[in-house]
Symmetry: C2
Subunit: 295 residues, 2 copies
């Protein structure tokens, strides 16, 4: 994966982080974020709009990025859609190399910024300028087009237990869950996949990031793993199951990608070619379609 | 699945129970055990040899089977291999319709009865006479040929974290884990499968039973589900991974069978034919090879 600092040549990166990334010690994930944003001199913007305590969030990341030597950093406060359509606020993205979305509640984040001028500027930064967009916890869930909005994490899948909402759509064809192993969320991710077999479920552990380089490839870093559940060839009785019942699921494909897993998009560097069962996921995640500003 | 009481015609049944089966209220699983053992008049034998507190175990099941009206019941105490080779004790299996193995520690159970005259009598009862053999918790794990003997249940698989031992071999080609969802044991079952890709992993939730009718089919009853992980087509770096590391696993097949799932062995009743991804599991579980007493 390239860490080339030249803005002209760079592919945009997404860092999809499972929450609780280390902010005190090795800071593997935040350090990589600074690199992918263009290095210590790059402008980094922290978005706390998912959180009910935005200043507390800023304080955490202000300190962490200070420790990492990223001096050009800014807290963008958006507590309403007015803020997210305010040109003075949105304009701050124009030269940002990195944009970091904190945890909180992904529904609050989308209520504040979904479909606003800020949302469009975020897509522009990622797709046109090659900025790095990171999201942790709620900020991670918000990145996909179909967003896991809420859902009980029972020990088993449960029909009707999970609700999807409209996310930011920085990546399509997947649903993202976070704090994945720590909060035993396989059941709810299987529920999503059983109800929406055309989406692949991506579960990210704490202090773990799935890095997606637009048009290029993926990499897993951190302490945990990334779990993928693919229900596209599954047999299921979900349609007939009663609400609240555990559906039968047969032939779900499960992938577990530990830190160090690294694959190029199909037709990329052969040294990191993905095995066949991952190709569709790679295509989906890294897809770099032409970007229309009026999306 | 047949509940025919005629001993002459009956296929043997295994009830592989994930622990904490209800013993007070509906008793779905224990009730079915009594049925499959031949009904209330059938002789039921309780084996507590996995437990360090055999009398406490007996008390629990004595009360439960009493409530269920199974009057012909017996506690077989075996605290040594001498006991398990004692003809007076082993002889008690000769006319038992049901044999119930309690929880405890599967290593203790195997240390006491593995390879003894009792072990042979157990196979005879199941395979020749068509008795019902139930095992819960440790008693469930002990049923497979390759037995999950010990292993940390981390949130993710971990190379070297699980040890297999020699089990009773009432069923082959699978490894059984119990208290499965409740104790978050997917990680350790994936470890088993990653280290032994020719074995299918079968994880059984609490108060849940996988019933196997020899030569005929399977059924899931109870409150939880049965999770199957099949790594036979998996790509994995397990061989190269460091001890203690989380391996990469790609294309594990996962099946989730809730209560009510019921499938016949291949070429059985077409109404309950299994979908293709389950056929090998069905073949493995229900396989009724000719039984040689000197196994």
């Amino acid at each position: 994966m390239s860490t080339d600092n030249s803005n002209e040549q760079r592919n945009g990166h997404l860092m999809i982080i499972g929450g609780h990334e280390d902010r005190k010690d090795d800071m593997t994930i935040l350090r990589r974020f600074v690199e992918l944003s263009g290095g210590k001199a790059a402008k980094i913007v922290v978005i706390s709009a998912a959180s009910g305590v935005p200043e507390d969030m800023w304080k955490i990341y202000d300190e962490a990025f200070d420790t990492l030597g990223a001096g050009n950093r800014l807290h963008l406060v958006m507590t309403s859609r007015e803020d997210a359509n305010n040109p003075d606020i949105v304009g701050q993205l124009a030269d940002a190399g990195g944009i970091f979305m904190t945890g909180g509640d992904q529904k609050r984040l989308l209520a504040n910024i979904g479909g606003t001028a800020f949302d469009r500027a975020l897509h522009h930064a990622f797709k046109v300028r090659g900025a790095c967009i990171a999201g942790t916890s709620a900020g991670a869930s918000a990145m996909s087009g179909h967003m896991l909005a809420s859902g009980a994490a029972g020990t088993q899948p449960e029909k009707g237990a999970v609700n999807l909402g409209a996310g930011l759509g920085l990546v399509q064809g997947v649903v993202i869950d976070q704090h994945f192993s720590e909060r035993q969320r396989l059941g709810r991710l299987l529920t999503v996949v059983a109800q929406n077999p055309y989406l692949q479920g991506v579960g990210i552990d704490e202090d773990t990031a799935l890095i997606v380089e637009r048009g290029a490839g993926i990499e897993v870093i951190g302490q945990g793993a990334v779990t993928v559940v693919d229900g596209r060839t599954m047999h299921s009785d979900m349609a007939d199951a009663a609400r609240g019942a555990c559906p039968e699921l047969i032939d779900v494909r499960l992938h577990l990608l530990p830190p160090g897993s690294r694959y190029t998009a199909p037709d990329g560097d052969e040294r990191f070619a993905a095995p066949a069962p991952l190709l569709d996921l790679l295509r989906t995640l890294t897809k770099a379609v032409a970007y229309h500003e009026d999306h």
